[in-house]
Structure formats: C-alpha cells, structure tokens
Symmetry: C2
Subunit: 267 residues, 2 copies
C-alpha cells in the first residue's frame, strides 16, 4: 500500500517530480535526468501502473484517493496528498483530472522484440508535436495496429501531453525508437514488411490499392510541416496517398494516420 | 490598398481587436460584441479574405508585408505594422506565423442554403474543444464532405484556435448552426438525408455497412466526453460504429470523424 504523505508546502523538495509541468524545456531535462515520466488523470494513472510501469510517487487531492485505492494498494511508493490549490501552485496549472503519478521509464525494447508477430505497424519520422504523437498512438491502438516505431528525432510519447492525449494507449501498444534513421526503412523491408510512405509525391497511389493483399505492412508518416524526408520517401517500397478533394492541400497528420490505420487494418 | 499604420504603443486602442488572445472569456465577449473573428498566419489570413470575409484590420511585423501584399491590395482596412515584441505584448503570446487579421463575421446562412446540392454532410452536436471543431472541419473539407451543421451549443468554428487548426477550411466548407436542437435530426431526415449517428451503443452496426448504397448521408458526431445525447442517438435513422480493437474504449472525436468522412465519401 502506498504511503500517504500529507504535504502543505509547495516548496517541499519531495514534490520535485511535479514542478512546473508547463515548462517544456525544464521538464525535458528533469525527466531525462531522473528517468521519469508523468501520468495525469485517474484513467491514465491506472493504465500506466497496470501497464507495468513502476511508480516513483503519486500526487493528488484527497478526493481522488478512493477511486485509485486499488492502484495505490499495489505499490509502496509515496502518495503525496495535497490541496488542489497546492497542486496548482506546484504544477503551474489547474489539474483538471486531479491525480498525477510520476513513473520510472523503462529501457526501450529492441526493434525486433516490438516487431515479433506484428502484421501492421506505424512508423513515425519526425513528428514534432506531442499532441500529434499521442493522437497517432491512440488511433493506432484503437484501429488494430500492432506496434509503433519512432525515428530518433520523433517527439517523446511519454511526455505528459502525449500520454494524456493518447489516453494511455502508449502503455498498450508496443513501441520503441529506431536506433538508426538512414537505413530504418530498408531494414524493415528486409524483415518482411512492405513499407508504405504516406506522401503527396507525384507517384503516390491511392492507399487502399497500395496496401491491398499485403501481409506485413509498415505505414510511414512524416512531420507536420514538410512531411517525410526525401530519404525516407524514396527508401519506402511504395508511396501512397489518402485521396483528397482537389484544392485542399492536406490532412492533419493525426487525421491522416487515423484514416491510414483504418484502411490498412482492413486490407 | 490597406493603409499601413505604424504603431509602437501596446496600449494603442486601435489594437483592441488583438488584445489578450489567450483569454478565452474575454475574447468570446469581445468578439461577440464587435462581430469579429481573428485569422492567424499568412495562409489562413489569405484564405479568410479570399473566402469573402471583410477585414476590419491587419496586424503584422514588417517582414510579413511582402508575402501578403496581394491580399492587402484588395482592401482599404488599416494594417497595423508593429515589432514582433509589440505583437507579443498585445496578444499575450509569441505570434509564430506572424500575421494576424481581424475580420467581420457574417450572418450565418440558413440550413436549407447550406444543404442545397449537398450529398454528404457532417453534423456536430456539442463538441466543446475548439481544436476538435477545427480538426473536424479540416478533415471534412479534405475528404469530400459538402457541408457541416453545428448544434446550438457546439464550439465556435470561427474562434481563433479552431480557425488555425482547420487551416482555413472553415472558409471553404459551407457550414451553419442548426436553429433547433431537439428536432434537428428528424428535420434532416425529412429533407432526404439518412442520419447516421456515430456511437458505441449496442445496436450500432459497422459504419461501412451503415452507409453502403445511401444517397444523401448526414454523419452525426457527439461531444468528446459523453458522445451524443440520448435524444440525438435515438432520433438518428441509423447508429453506426468505427470498428475498434477489443479493450480500447474509443477514438478521439477528430480521429473518428476523419475515418467516418473517408468511409462515407467512398460509399
């Protein structure tokens, strides 16, 4: 059972994991240094713990204790019990869903392990926005994708905002980082995947036709602004597009991913 | 040609339209009072003006003047030329894409006018989040939806954040508000649309089957938290679901809308 620890001083050093959650730079260095990430909201906290991530601590107002009692019972990490005002003072914003947890990151699994048995995977190149990474993970989990691979510079799926938007899908879908950017797609092809790049390039065919009848498929999506790098676009086995109305330049990457996952899962 | 007016005082009352863009409550009352809305970024400003919305004024740093010269040439509204620092001071945040415009709202068209000739429409009940409204509009425009109807309490598609996320699609897709909530769906059915509610209800069938062979279709989507109201869920001609992996509770409404628009456009 987690140890309940009442705290009434916002400067208490034990609350360090929860400090200034809106300050992206500060958070990134703090989380990297301590190998932690944050989960926010009862449902997401629960899913993180159930997903096997070990909690460092919890932070919540008293009214959230009951709902998470079964989760707290599984650990002896401290649970800092604070007023909502103090939580706001520490984190820098109003904590809508009330409960926070700080959890230990785990070593990322090797690519081979994540791909074992997978038939449909999504590969993200350099998605910048944590909201988009979270949204893609959520859609991938819902629509039958077996694994997600991230290029070295793709935004962190364990960053609080990504975890929140993914509604915990980041704990459900196997994912890891690709160690190498340049040859990532040829290596996937060698493993038996047909890599299908989503792109607006002139030789792109309709996605439904591109994936029809394929066994193992890796859908490849690029960054919000410029799409895929020329290297990845050209290294992919096929280039495909979600057909769009003339005159509209593009779908948001999260919307394109949702449609692409749906189409590919039903190939 | 817009009149270029250099301004170097953040308190200048002529900049009132651009004040405190992050303060949702203040903005909502200010925009309602003056019947205005804001467009942000060169592309979106351009699309708003090209979409026929009359500018009240523009606000930008000197480096954005050239790119928008042709747009500024079409109007005699003032263009306030300010330093990036002053723009930040007035608006309350760093204006990434540089150019802002304040435009006159227009009276919303009647529902009949928006539906004339439409074969596929999206109907949003009470979507709360401006980002989601914008994302749905963008996907709808890209994926071949002819019109969008909004329930009386759906979030404002002309709110800055929605306009930005929609990348100007709000100026491209015909849309309006439904005057009446309770009988909105039966009235659509009378007009010849089959109303298809996206829901997780027990009698929901797979979306692809639900829309197969239909002529005029109205896809009906509910709010982020609780989905559709019981009234709308029951008033719809059909209830349908985007098939999901067991154990995953839902797609984000914007992702569900993207998939649903894609499937319905290809019926």
């Amino acid at each position: 059972m987690a140890r309940l620890v009442e705290v009434d001083d916002a400067a208490d050093p034990r609350l360090g994991d929860y400090r200034d959650l809106r300050d992206v730079q500060l958070r990134q260095s703090l989380e990297a240094e301590h190998g932690l990430f944050l989960a926010e909201g009862e449902k997401v906290v629960r899913r993180a713990v159930e997903g096997g991530y070990a909690p460092r601590s919890f932070l919540m107002a008293p009214r959230w204790l009951d709902g998470l009692a079964d989760v707290l019972a599984t650990t002896d990490a401290p649970c800092f019990v604070v007023s909502e005002q103090l939580a706001e003072e520490v984190t820098g914003f109003h904590v809508h869903r009330g409960a926070l947890a700080s959890l230990h990151r785990r070593p990322l699994p090797p690519v081979d392990e994540v791909l074992a048995g997978a038939r449909t995977v999504v590969v993200l190149e350099d998605i910048v926005d944590h909201t988009n990474v979270g949204a893609v993970l959520r859609s991938a989990a819902a629509l039958g994708v077996d694994a997600v691979l991230l290029a070295p510079r793709c935004a962190d799926p364990l960053y609080r905002r990504a975890v929140k938007v993914a509604m915990g899908a980041v704990f459900a879908v196997p994912w890891t980082r690709l160690p190498d950017w340049y040859d990532a797609l040829p290596r996937l092809s060698e493993t038996g995947f047909t890599t299908v790049a989503l792109t607006l390039s002139d030789d792109a065919v309709e996605l439904e036709a591109a994936v029809a009848g394929l066994d193992r498929v890796a859908l490849v999506l690029g960054s919000e602004g410029h799409g895929l790098s020329p290297r990845w676009e050209q290294a992919a086995d096929r280039r495909a597009v979600v057909p769009m109305r003339a005159g509209v330049d593009s779908l948001n990457v999260a919307a394109a991913a949702a449609v692409a996952c749906y189409v590919t899962a039903r190939r």
